[in-house]
């Protein structure tokens, strides 16, 4: 309930400062963002504020699921834009929480990189635009373990050096997809034998895991509390920059690919400004600022010209030749999802 207080207070302070800065200029319009924590540089919001004479306020959330819960609990109508991940775009569209962007409403829609237009979670980009994308696998402290790390055995059948020193993301989708990849089984499976095998794998692997935590995924690697940990690629790069001798793995069984997207929420109080902001985020220079800050990849043509050249060379954002493709988290139907939810609860019992 309150475990994310740090980020909440951060959100409040960012929101306040955004309001104060913009408010002092007696802005004409308003824009209300609902955004991930620690993801967008304040300067970029200020830039949008000044260019469009719009007062920007921002609240933050810490997971796709809490975004959904909050909107369903009555927050719909108080925000213009949110930044859900791939599968959550599909869920939110199915739940009727998204507004449709009509043809021609976004001047910069053509800037979206071709491979990110017809995406499985929003075919033709009717509700969303790309924000940042990246991968989720795991990082290993190379001072502790020097063997081959490009295998999911690191998490589910770890070598002795890493056993009991592994942090997993506190995120059902990412943990269960990684486990499915390890077993070579499909997502949203209804095959009972495979699901039982998945359950057994999770129960046996748990003994080798030290902790669950998403927001601390980087810190535990830097501090040495964990010697290996499931992590987002940008977070892993940051851990390395902070001095941890960690290497990001591209397991041969596959890994998770994700994409965050700016979506237009239904009943947006400032729809015009929301569209302006979407166009703003489709400018290569602006989305590149987010990339430079968060160290993920933009989905906008021409953004490379404005990103830090060091980022392109990062091992975390460049899968080695011949590595397995990544997979998006799939959206299951209710009956199937309930089994996966149970697997997760059993894992944490």
């Amino acid at each position: 309930m309150f475990k994310h207080c740090v980020r909440k207070s951060l959100a409040v302070s960012i929101g306040l400062s955004a309001a104060l800065i913009a408010g002092s200029a007696q802005a004409e319009g308003k824009l209300s963002l609902y955004h991930w924590f620690e993801y967008i540089p304040q300067e970029l919001l200020d830039k949008f504020s000044e260019e469009n004479d719009v007062e920007v306020t921002m609240d933050t959330y810490e997971s796709n699921e809490s975004l959904l819960a909050s909107l369903k609990a009555g927050k719909l109508g108080s925000y213009d834009l949110a930044v859900p991940g791939d599968y959550m775009v599909e869920i939110m569209a199915n739940e009727g929480l998204l507004d449709t962007i009509a043809e021609g409403e976004l001047a910069n829609k053509g800037n979206i990189q071709p491979q990110w237009v017809d995406v499985p979670f929003d075919n033709g980009r009717k509700h969303s635009i790309p924000y940042q994308w990246g991968s989720t696998s795991f990082a290993v402290n190379r001072d502790v373990y020097t063997g081959d790390i490009n295998t999911t055995d690191i998490l589910f059948n770890p070598p002795a050096e890493l056993a009991g020193k592994i942090n997993m993301l506190d995120s059902q989708g990412e943990v269960l997809l990684m486990a499915a990849l390890h077993l070579g089984m499909e997502q949203c499976s209804t095959d009972r034998d495979k699901l039982k095998a998945l359950d057994e794998l999770l129960q046996s692997a748990k003994a080798n895991w030290a902790s669950f935590g998403s927001d601390v995924a980087k810190d535990v690697l830097v501090s040495g509390d964990a010697a290996a940990g499931q992590i987002y690629n940008g977070f892993s790069a940051k851990a390395r920059a902070e001095g941890a001798n960690v290497e990001y793995a591209y397991p041969k069984q596959g890994y998770v690919v994700w994409m965050d997207n700016v979506v237009l929420l239904k009943d947006a109080p400032n729809r015009d400004n929301a569209l302006k902001f979407m166009d703003f985020m489709l400018e290569p220079e602006n989305i590149a600022a987010v990339t430079n800050y968060a160290q993920y990849s933009a989905g906008v043509t021409g953004a490379e010209a404005f990103t830090d050249p060091e980022l392109a060379k990062q091992p975390e954002s460049a899968p080695p030749e011949g590595s397995a493709p990544g997979a998006f988290i799939a959206v299951c139907d209710q009956a199937t999802q309930e089994v996966y939810d149970q697997l997760w609860t059993r894992l944490r019992k």
Binding site: A69, L195, K206, A210, S211, G213, S223, D225, W344, R348
Partner: protein, 304 residues
């Protein structure tokens, strides 16, 4: 108007407006306590909507899920579901241990403070409360820094030669206990202090004059006299420990759900099962209320 039996008299000055004066209190209690609990009770009997939300059809499904296990695929014959009972039991044990630990350390501390000279007492009390000027989250994170494998505690112990290998404290139940103990100690010290301060020490002297040993005096005279303070302290430590989430998450590694995290998962996790979250919260509330009722009954029996 005299309150029946208690011998206390209540002034009549405000009698005509008494209810109006109490209105803000009643509104606060009603809007911020009773109404949310009533909402929670209603929600716990509603049908869950997939991915969060409720459908307004009454059902016992949430309580059924808590008690009965129908297998991974939901079509086996129901047996007792141990998952949630285990989670609740673990939280109860953890909260009881934290309470016991706080009592063992808190009681002597309170006694020590209450027996100082009046001028130094306030200084000691001040010292006890100083850490609480810092946010609980910050204190818990700091504790994590202190006890981690290469943290100051292990460095000091290794340096002094007391241990050869660093203590593995982080992500263990001991760390959680440490966190809970540190978080809630003053809630134990302060009520006991208030009780000991009122204690008339000539009673101890009288006991000693009658050849009671130190242990007997403590057991037969002091503890019964300050019992209300001890019980109040235990409740103040036990109840928040039961729903604690910061210490289990940050110090215990969140490997297993506690009651707090189980409920959170129903609202903010993948499950999105609001009725079950509400039902879990109602069950917790009922457990706490039962404990408080027992306490209240014990109190009234003593007074009769």
């Amino acid at each position: 108007m005299a309150a029946a039996g208690s011998g206390r008299t209540v002034s009549n000055t405000f009698a005509p407006v008494r209810n109006w004066l109490l209105l803000p209190t009643w509104l606060t209690v009603g809007i911020f306590m009773l109404l949310p609990i009533a909402l929670m009770l209603v929600y716990s009997f509603l049908t869950k909507e997939f991915r969060g939300g409720v459908i307004w059809e009454f059902t016992l499904a949430a309580y059924d899920q808590f008690v009965f296990d129908r297998g991974l695929f939901g079509d086996e014959a129901p047996s007792i579901e141990w998952t949630y009972i285990t989670i609740y039991f673990r939280s109860l044990v953890q909260a009881s241990m934290a309470t016991l630990l706080c009592l063992l350390i808190g009681f002597p501390t309170a006694f020590f403070i209450a027996t100082r000279s009046p001028s130094t007492r306030s200084m000691w009390l001040f010292l006890v409360t100083i850490p609480y000027w810092v946010n609980l989250l910050i204190r818990t994170v700091s504790m994590k820094f202190l006890i981690r494998e290469n943290g100051p505690l292990n460095q000091a112990l290794l340096g002094s030669g007391l241990i050869d290998t660093p203590l593995q404290l982080i992500n263990t139940n001991i760390a959680v206990q440490l966190g809970l103990f540190y978080s809630y100690l003053p809630f134990m010290v302060l009520p006991i202090y208030a009780a000991v301060e009122r204690y008339n020490f000539s009673l101890s002297e009288a006991g000693a004059d009658l050849y009671a040993g130190r242990w007997t005096i403590l057991r037969r005279i002091v503890i019964p006299a300050v019992k209300p303070g001890i019980i109040a302290g235990c409740i103040l430590v036990f109840v928040p420990s039961l729903g604690a989430f910061l210490a289990p998450d940050l110090l215990g590694g969140a490997k297993t759900f506690m009651i707090g995290s189980l409920i959170e998962e129903q609202f903010k996790g993948n499950a999105g099962n609001w009725p079950f979250g509400a039902a879990s919260a109602m069950i917790l509330l009922t457990l706490v209320l039962i404990a408080l009722l027992f306490y209240a009954r014990a109190q009234t029996k003593e007074q009769v």
